[in-house]
């Protein structure tokens, strides 16, 4: 019996009123609708307004903000930078995280739940604090430079902070636990007898991995990767603290537009481009992976 059976409403006398379900879900739905959905739609509408230095925003319907975004090389650059940083971090997290997920999925150790808690822990303490940690490590007087200079590997402190490198390191570290947990869940759902069957039939480790494990895990991997990519695209605290002016990404840029430049229409445009662009790219990669792998499996 599934959760669906849980919904079996009492029969023969004592029937539940039809409106009970909807009325229970209504308050929460109303809140989300009014506080999230409506404002987002308003923001969308604002992106078509006109920016005026005096009034800040004038009612209009114009595409000038979108035109400006796509025409201006600076903003195109910001978007492209955001995409490649996000893509790079996602790939790194995937490549580095997969062995960890595999280890966790297969381990029989009684410390397994401890390992998992250690993964969840950084996710819960907040991105600001984690970025602060990287500042301590990557700063000119930071831990990493101290080690490098101390061991003689560098003549003077290497500039890590406020570079794309720092942002990539910080963001990858932030999203890796998410990815590992997702991958681990996917891998645990696989019956490992298929791996044994493959080996029994003569496949070595790499072949088993490539031809058996990966295709089966692919849909779950795709879903997890999509989530992580979205997280990277939307990153704010990490790029601001670790990238500074050395690297501008979409989320900080759009925040600046609204608060410092007070250009609401353009800020709204950036927001929309970010959300839609992210969604499109994520769906595209998801579809590609599905095409590559899922088609080979019976539905």
């Amino acid at each position: 019996m599934t959760g669906a059976a849980m919904t079996a409403v009492p029969t023969s006398a004592g029937r539940v009123p039809r409106m009970l379900g909807p009325s229970m879900a209504f308050p929460a739905s109303l809140v989300v609708l009014l506080i999230i959905m409506v404002p987002i739609l308003m923001l969308f509408r604002y992106s078509f307004n006109h920016f005026d230095t005096v009034e800040m925003m004038q009612e209009a319907f114009t595409f000038e903000n979108y035109v400006r975004f796509f025409a201006d090389p600076y903003y195109r650059d910001v978007f492209i930078t955001t995409v490649w940083v996000a893509a790079l971090c996602t790939v790194l997290a995937l490549v580095l995280g997969f062995p960890v997920a595999y280890f966790l999925a297969k381990t029989q150790s009684r410390y397994k739940s401890l390992f998992i808690i250690l993964l969840v822990f950084p996710l819960m303490v907040g991105n600001v604090v984690r970025a602060a940690g990287w500042m301590v490590i990557l700063g000119n007087a930071g831990a990493l430079n101290t080690v490098l200079v101390g061991l003689g590997l560098a003549a003077e402190p290497v500039q890590f902070m406020y570079t794309p490198t720092a942002v990539v390191i910080g963001t990858t570290a932030v999203v890796m636990p998410y990815l590992i947990l997702t991958l681990q869940s996917v891998l645990e759902g696989i019956d490992f007898s298929v791996e044994e069957a493959a080996q029994n039939l003569g496949a070595g480790f790499l072949t088993t991995f490539r031809r058996v494990l990966l295709p089966i895990a692919a849909p779950g991997v795709a879903a997890g990767t999509m989530l992580v990519f979205i997280l990277c695209m939307n990153a704010y605290a990490t790029p601001v603290l670790l990238g500074g002016t050395g690297l501008t990404m979409m989320a900080p840029a759009l925040y600046d537009q609204i608060t410092r430049a007070s250009n609401w229409p353009f800020g709204a445009t950036l927001a929309l481009v970010l959300v839609c662009g992210t969604l499109l790219l994520a769906l595209l990669s998801n579809w590609l992976i599905h095409r590559r792998y899922v088609r080979t499996m019976a539905s």
Partner: protein
């Protein structure tokens, strides 16, 4: 979500064995995993370590250790007030979110109705929207509402709490729905068979079985609200910032043991709550 199916004696049968060509592969694998864990955890380790450094300026290795920064941090108004404010917002947002979320989850999962799938999607949607975008959208909407209603909303406690409730509702719905789906329906049937009416069976049997999930939802919501930055950035007002924002603003100019102490306090608080939550619900399945 599936859990590892092998335990005890059976487990040995399926334990990974890598014979032959790469006997050292297992060792390499374990080392790599250890390295990755270090990579993910080292920021937190270093922050906590820094908070005890003797010197006011970041320098490795430290000349000594002290607790003075914790005292200094608490004496600092911005941090002390930020901490208290974050607490207040998180508590209220968690309570409201849990009440609304549990109600909604029950309505959607248990009393399935025509639009329940849509309602479920709607309630989970805030998780998909970037915090910055949501924060800005809400900020602008509040401004419009202010003009319309002729009252202050932006920068107020209430305004921030309402926005945070939109964060706590999705997590509550997720946690409680998952728990409900895992319940054995025949337990409630047994209660009714023994003479409990539908209502009594629900209140005395089903709801208590959901208690761990509800408690976990409350704790998790607290954490999500407390550590939130992006949504809150646009909605705080002068003299009323949250702790993460206060930390961020300080960090944009300065990195020293004081801020490390503040960050460590946040790490400690949220870490403890997370451990407690894990007692109620396996967090790995949720995140």
């Amino acid at each position: 979500m599936a859990t590892s199916a092998t335990t005890g004696a059976d487990a040995d049968v399926h334990a990974p064995v890598r014979r032959g060509r790469f006997p050292w592969a297992r060792c390499l694998h374990s080392t790599f995993v250890g390295l990755m864990y270090f990579f993910m955890l080292c920021p937190l380790i270093f922050v906590v370590w820094l908070s005890f450094f003797e010197d006011a300026i970041l320098y490795f290795p430290p000349s000594g250790y002290t607790l003075q920064w914790y005292v200094k941090a608490w004496a600092n108004d911005a941090f002390a007030n930020g901490f208290v404010f974050s607490l207040q917002v998180a508590v209220l947002a968690a309570i409201c979110g849990v009440v609304l979320g549990v109600l909604a989850a029950l309505g959607i999962v248990r009393y399935r109705f025509a639009g329940s799938r849509a309602a479920n999607t709607l309630l989970l949607s805030p998780l998909l929207i970037p915090g910055i975008v949501a924060g800005i959208a809400i900020y602008l909407a509040y401004l419009a509402a202010e003009n319309f209603l002729d009252m202050d909303i932006v920068g107020t406690y209430g305004g921030l709490v309402i926005a945070h409730v939109c964060l706590t509702i999705p997590w509550t719905v997720r946690l409680v729905s998952a728990s409900m789906a895992g319940l054995d329906p025949s337990i409630e049937e047994a209660a009714r068979n023994l003479g409990a009416s539908g209502r009594v069976a629900f209140l005395r049997i089903t709801l208590p079985m959901l208690r761990p999930a509800i408690v976990a939802a409350a704790l998790f919501s607290f954490v999500v609200s407390f550590e939130n930055l992006e949504l809150s950035l646009s909605l705080v007002g002068p003299g009323r910032t949250t702790l993460p924002i206060a930390i961020m603003q300080y960090l944009e100019f300065n990195l020293d043991p004081t801020i490390a102490a503040v960050a460590s306090v946040q790490i400690l608080l949220l870490g403890i709550i997370m451990l407690v939550t894990d007692r109620f619900v396996k967090l790995s399945q949720v995140v």
